[in-house]
Amino acid sequence: MSAAQTAAQAAKRVRITVDGKEVQVAADRPILHGMLEAGVEVPHFCYHPGLSIAGNCRMCLVKVKGLPKLQVSCNTFPKEGMEVVSGDEEVARARRAVMEFLLINHPLDCPVCDQAGECWLQDSAYRHGRDVGRFREEKVHKHKKQMGDLSDVLLWGERCIACSRCVRFCEEITGTGEISLVGRGDRVVVDVHPSRPLTNPLAGNVVDVCPVGALVSKDFLYGARVWFMDFADSICPACSKGCNIRVESHQGAVKRLRPRTNLDVNGYWMCDHGRFDFKYVAEEGRLDRAWARDGDRVNYPGYAEALEKAARGLAEVGREFGDGALAALADLWMTNEELLVFRDLAARLGAKEVGVLAGPLKEDEVFPGFTILGDKNPNREGARRILGAAAVDGGLARVVSGIASGKVKGLYLHCGIPRFDPPEGFARLLATSEFLVVHATHRSVLTDLAHIGIPGATSFEKSGTFTNAKGLTQRIRKAVAPPGEVEADLAALQRLVAAIGGPAVAAFEPLSDRAIQRRLASQVEGFAGLDPAALDRPGRGPNFLPNPFPGGPRAGGVFPA
């Protein structure tokens, strides 16, 4: 079959009726998928759009006209004109029965369960369950354990509903197969073999796919009640893939990152390198105020004054040593908007050489259903488009040789790369410069050399766009406020540009990232046609979460009759 035919088939839709209402559904997906896409609430646990069909939870039962028994809608494929009943008493009774079965051996420890508030079992019980328990027997007892020596995943066996999502994830997406179902009947539980712990770098996803609190994140354990958290849709900065993520924070602190569905980028998943790499936001060494160094003396003149001093210092070096005495270094963790203003800055400084600092470049990690990219820089492609390939690929080396030859005397350096490892001898060389401005998020050998230091914001603390390795430009959003007196780098850069040009920094009003995006579209060839409004559209693909009350509570009270 040709690609075009495959695409045509995938796009093919058929008409079915659900409870008498006509619904258009994808022909190649089970009717459960189609109904959920159409906004029909169907309770389900084992179905996941990114995994194979298991059909074991038996929760998504519907009536299909012409078939004698209730059918699981996750394994029923649509035919033109198919008549489906999802909302009558017979279906409700069957779902209530399944719900009761699911809860009899469940510990019902919701008050101390990490999943509470985002638990499919809780939400489905609320909407489809019984209000009185009839189970008088002893529950089955199961173990708790850590699923891997290094892994972040913890198992609460008794909460497991044996939906096999995590098992299928480890078979189909990672291909590593660490998790199995062990035991028979109501003794069944997911587990790993002692000699094969769950250590693959995508393991964190099993916590997301687990619809209950059986697999939880050790990192997030007892970290926050989810209903008190704040969410921001953003992009993972840990590599150039640009996985769509949700940054989840509590009282201004990032608590966890989780993937958002985007079939054009990351599907339903993200890797653990990205998932757990946010601790640097609040780590020791995080810079939270601007400083000025005079010999061995460091003082803190305040943010605005430090920017003024930086502008004055750079301008003086330029005047004193003439043409080509100033250079500027950006980094590949800067947003497109910041890079554009950085370009303005470099032009204003009359910098002959512009280069970039980069995070590690490793091998790609390839799994059957996911590839983790080796370029650990979120915005290399954006930097190429804005600063040019020459600056990105060889700029740093030219700046370095400029300093070494004594030509370059003053430098503006931006380093927002966590745990940045400078090239051999780089720091020693920088120490020879006349005037060094370092704009950085964390203390390092570089910041210790700075004459003026400006604290920067991490990607969780600012808004803008990254362009991933495939050339897709995606929006990052501020999830938490930066520490201390830190201002988003975009504003700081604009103030610096303005200060070099003349007007007092305090009176200056920086443009928003939105305004800069319009400039990008008109001034940078690589961003021609960029539509700032389009950046707010969610990624392609389904994102099914249980909704206890679609369209408000049912008539007749909270509990179904």
Partner: protein, 433 residues
């Protein structure tokens, strides 16, 4: 009742399991030779005409099942024939005897079936506990290979049919045809979600037919003696000879062969009647999953249609007889312990339901029964039916429902008296000693 056994006529005869004996005394492998001279459609047609119904439990018409295999132009690639020798229904021991005494009858049937469905590879999936039988079937397969009845050139016709013996690891659920296929593929013995059905997408994703040992043992008879002869035995509700496994409270428990549809009372008579001069209380007619028959319901023909009409099933023809001293609560508890132990745990209603009703009935038997327990039991049993991948859930719910409904007084007495009114030594455990 006089009936000359056919399937079991060699049971107990020394040497009956060898290929020499089978060929010399029983026209062995003549039917297979004949079948390979026919087209697949002709073979399927003959078996359809015989109205042979599957002996594994579901009673599905055998020829019709073979006909479900799609044409190679619709589904290309290999076809598989799998012999289900994972006999593990409590009260059932017919396939074990066939494997032990006449393994070649089953193998000959497998050659015919493989030809009919176009399979080049066959497997016998044999119950793990059948260690001696597995060795014997393995020897029989080697004998047949040595004679050129399996291999690349079966009977010199150029047709290729290979046979592999695979031993199970001891799970009831691997007798369910798709659970068996999962296990044979090397996976966990989970029944597969249907559709697709095995005839279209079975073993290793290819069209597969799974047949019971006794079913295949009947097939050479049909080809050799004709569908009309086969149909002349038995009743319209079930044709051909049938092995019945009678166990429990009878004088002479054992394996009996009769035309399909023999009256249950005649069958009990053949087994010497209820033991110790006691009165009959109930009969489980078709293995532990079958709904129970009270003593007054036993005037019934033991075929597929008649037992279905009587609200139960022929199943695996495991006939378990219970005398008047049997505690029905304890008997049900026994059956439910089995299903609780053997549920694979894949589907929610079965995984949770089998344990729930086992514990509930056990509590009633031990004297902890409460008002409302029987209503809960019946409701849970109803909720376990019709909503799972395979029928193990239903199979556990049927006895729960039928014992409770037919012997409700006894269950209520347990609750009222806070304990079992029967003497323990006369309960089912004693019968099995």
């Amino acid at each position: 009742m006089s009936f000359d056994p056919i399937l079991s006529r060699r049971f107990g005869t020394p040497g009956s399991h060898t290929i020499d004996f089978y060929e010399r005394e029983d026209r062995g492998y003549q039917a297979a030779r004949k079948a390979l001279g026919m087209t697949a459609a002709q073979v399927i047609d003959e078996v359809k005409k015989s109205e042979l119904r599957g002996r594994g439990g579901a009673g599905f018409p055998c020829g019709q099942k073979w006909g479900f295999v799609p044409a190679p132009k619709d589904v290309p690639g290999p076809r598989y024939l799998v012999v289900n020798a994972d006999e593990s229904e409590p009260g059932t021991f017919k396939d074990r005897a066939l494997l032990w005494y006449t393994p070649h009858a089953m193998l000959e049937g497998a050659i015919i079936a493989a030809h009919a469905i176009g399979a080049e590879s066959c497997y016998v999936y044999i119950r793990g506990e059948f260690a001696r039988e597995a060795v014997r079937v393995g020897e029989a397969v080697r004998e047949a290979y040595a004679k050129g009845y399996f291999g690349r050139n079966v009977f010199g016709t150029g047709r290729r049919i290979e046979m592999t013996v695979h031993r199970g690891a001891g799970a009831y659920i691997c007798g369910e045809e798709t659970g068996l296929l999962s296990s044979l593929e090397g996976g966990r013995g989970y029944p597969k979600i249907k559709p697709p059905f095995p005839a279209v997408k079975g073993l290793f994703g290819q069209p597969t037919i799974v047949n019971n040992v006794e079913t295949l043992a009947c097939v050479p008879l049909i080809l050799d003696r004709g569908a009309e002869w086969f149909k002349s035995i038995g009743t319209p509700g079930g044709t051909g000879p049938k092995l019945y496994c009678v166990s429990g409270h009878v004088e002479r428990p054992g394996l009996f062969e009769f035309p399909c549809g023999v009256n249950l009372r005649a069958l009990l008579g053949a087994a010497g009647g209820v033991w110790k001069g006691r009165r009959l209380k109930a009969v489980i007619p078709g293995g532990s999953s079958a709904k129970i028959l009270r003593a007054d319901e036993t005037d019934v023909a033991m075929d597929f249609a008649s037992l279905q009409k009587a609200g139960t099933m022929l199943g695996s023809a495991g006939v378990i007889v219970l005398d008047e001293t049997t505690c029905m609560v304890n008997a049900l508890w026994n059956v439910l312990r089995f299903f609780h132990h053997e549920s694979c745990g894949q589907c929610t209603p079965c995984r949770e339901g089998t344990g729930w009703i086992e514990k509930l009935v056990g509590r009633i038997e031990r004297g902890g029964g409460k008002q409302g327990d029987l209503d809960t039991l019946l409701d849970v049993a109803a909720n376990m039916q019709g909503t799972t991948v395979c029928v193990l859930s239903d199979a556990a719910a049927w006895p729960a429902e039928s014992y409770t409904l037919k012997f409700r007084d006894e269950f209520e007495e347990h609750i009222r008296r806070k304990g079992c009114p029967f003497k323990k030594e006369s309960a089912m455990a004693g019968a099995l000693a």
